[in-house]
């Protein structure tokens, strides 16, 4: 800014000059405020984004690190085991299998959770043999049941010889039932039983009950079981596995299939989880019947 000799200026010129400078400073301050606001917005966005990412990471960390540590330790022990001690090696191999099986289960849940959080789940409908799905599930968990000395009971409530054939999403139903069965085993008491009974109700909906004789859930806790981070027995000495992730995935899948989940429980007596799913209308396409009609007449264009 040129230095202007004050003495030679009229008041009008002086005022005009000062006015101009004030205006320039005002604009600079406005720019600064605007930049500041943008910075705050960006910061907010980054925080939100980080928070969302860390949910996924916290979902997976513990449930992966611990089993892997066990597998590493056990396999090393097998290598160092005297060659003649086959019994010991077998025992450790069996424990490795247990950890790997659990890891497989956790991974399935983690990928399911990621898919759900990305909003990219779709029903994949086919005719499902429910009897086969459930008995196959029980077989997969044979070792887990044995470990806790649990009896398994599978009851088709409709009696008769023919299996129940139901139009629904086989993969998602399997995940839902795996999660419920896993909880029924984990929260059960040694030597007790796990029962799965199933059939169709008067509305034609598929009803599957998973009953355990474990510690049960108190009234206040019934609400928090869907929290994907919480599990009811958090003690260090807890022998239980699994976390809320299973139940929150179940909720999302059951919603997608337009079903519902009911829980009945008595502390120290056990719990009954009931899944109720309506039969799907469409078969194996991502285009519902309702979406298929073309509009004519009363539609509006936006």
């Amino acid at each position: 800014m040129e230095d202007i000799q004050a003495q030679n200026l009229s008041d009008a010129v002086l005022l005009s000059e000062i006015s101009g400078r004030i205006e320039k400073y005002r604009m600079a301050v406005e720019n600064l405020n605007s930049l500041n606001k943008q910075l705050l917005e960006l910061n907010q966005k980054l925080t939100e984004s980080e928070a969302m990412k860390s949910h996924f990471i916290s979902n997976i960390t513990n449930e992966i690190i611990n089993p892997f540590a066990s597998i590493l330790g056990l396999s090393k022990s097998i290598v160092e085991c005297p060659e003649t001690d086959v019994a010991r090696m077998k025992r450790m191999a069996s424990m490795i299998h247990g950890e790997a099986f659990n890891l497989d289960f956790q991974f399935k849940n983690i990928f399911a959770a990621a898919e759900i959080e990305a909003g990219e789940i779709q029903p994949n409908i086919s005719v499902v043999n429910i009897d086969e799905l459930l008995s196959s599930l029980f077989s997969q968990y044979a070792r887990e049941l044995e470990r806790k000395n649990l009896t398994k009971v599978l009851t088709n409530l409709e009696g008769g010889d023919s299996p129940i054939l139901f139009r629904t999403d086989s993969d998602k139903l399997t995940v839902i039932m795996s999660n419920l069965l896993c909880n029924a085993i984990n929260f059960n008491r040694k030597g007790k039983k796990v029962e799965i009974s199933y059939g169709r109700n008067e509305n034609g909906e598929l009803v599957i009950n998973v009953i355990d004789e474990g510690m049960g859930i108190s009234e206040e806790n019934l609400n928090i079981i869907y929290d994907r981070f919480k599990r009811l027995d958090n003690g260090i000495n807890s022998v239980n596995r699994g976390h809320g992730l299973g139940l929150s995935i179940n909720k999302a899948y059951i919603d997608l299939l337009e079903g519902r989940l009911e829980v009945k429980s008595k502390e120290n007596e056990g719990s009954t989880f009931t899944v109720i799913i309506p039969e799907s209308a469409q078969q194996n396409n991502d285009y519902s019947e309702e979406g298929n009609e073309v509009f004519f007449g009363d539609e509006e264009i936006f």
Partner: protein, 154 residues
């Protein structure tokens, strides 16, 4: 032209020209359209904000809208080229409660978040007592809507 049916709690965005159909009750769908690239995306959420407990999915408006905008940017859009159309948020019958109805709250989340991002709402059909079926053309940005007279479940 790809055809896609959008289920509740999910979202869809693509560079391919697509006709996306979805059915709304108290749920809200936000359609975003990039007028320069001729691409679009749409979400379908059931509740206004994430409760912090369940999975952080696009079942919740704040997550659904945030993710949809992100997806459009990933597909190559500039936020300044985006426009929005908002649908749904009708009222389910027989609720007498002091809390504002879900439909209204869902609409408000859309209005607030789009305004924050300076994305203009150039078309809308919200509120009322009926369900809606909409078909969104992601290439032209056009949305066809018909009211559903039967009872609302979504």
């Amino acid at each position: 032209m790809t055809r896609h049916f959008l289920y509740p709690s999910t979202m869809y965005a693509s560079i391919q020209a697509s006709e996306v159909t979805t059915i709304l009750g108290s749920c809200v769908a936000v359609c975003l359209w990039d007028r320069t690239l001729g691409i679009g995306g749409i979400n379908h959420y059931m509740l206004p904000t994430w409760n912090g407990m369940e999975l952080a999915s696009p079942k919740y408006g704040n997550i659904a809208i945030e993710r949809l905008v992100e997806k459009m940017l990933q597909l190559g859009s500039k936020q300044s080229n985006l426009v929005a159309k908002v649908f749904g948020g009708g009222e389910v019958i027989a609720f007498s409660s002091n809390i504002m109805h879900i439909g209204q709250r869902n609409i408000m989340v859309a209005e607030e978040m789009l305004e924050e991002r300076r994305i203009p709402i150039i078309g809308r059909s919200t509120g009322g007592n009926s369900g809606r079926k909409i078909i969104y053309n992601t290439k032209t940005g056009e949305v066809l809507q018909a009211y559903i007279k039967s009872n609302m479940s979504k």
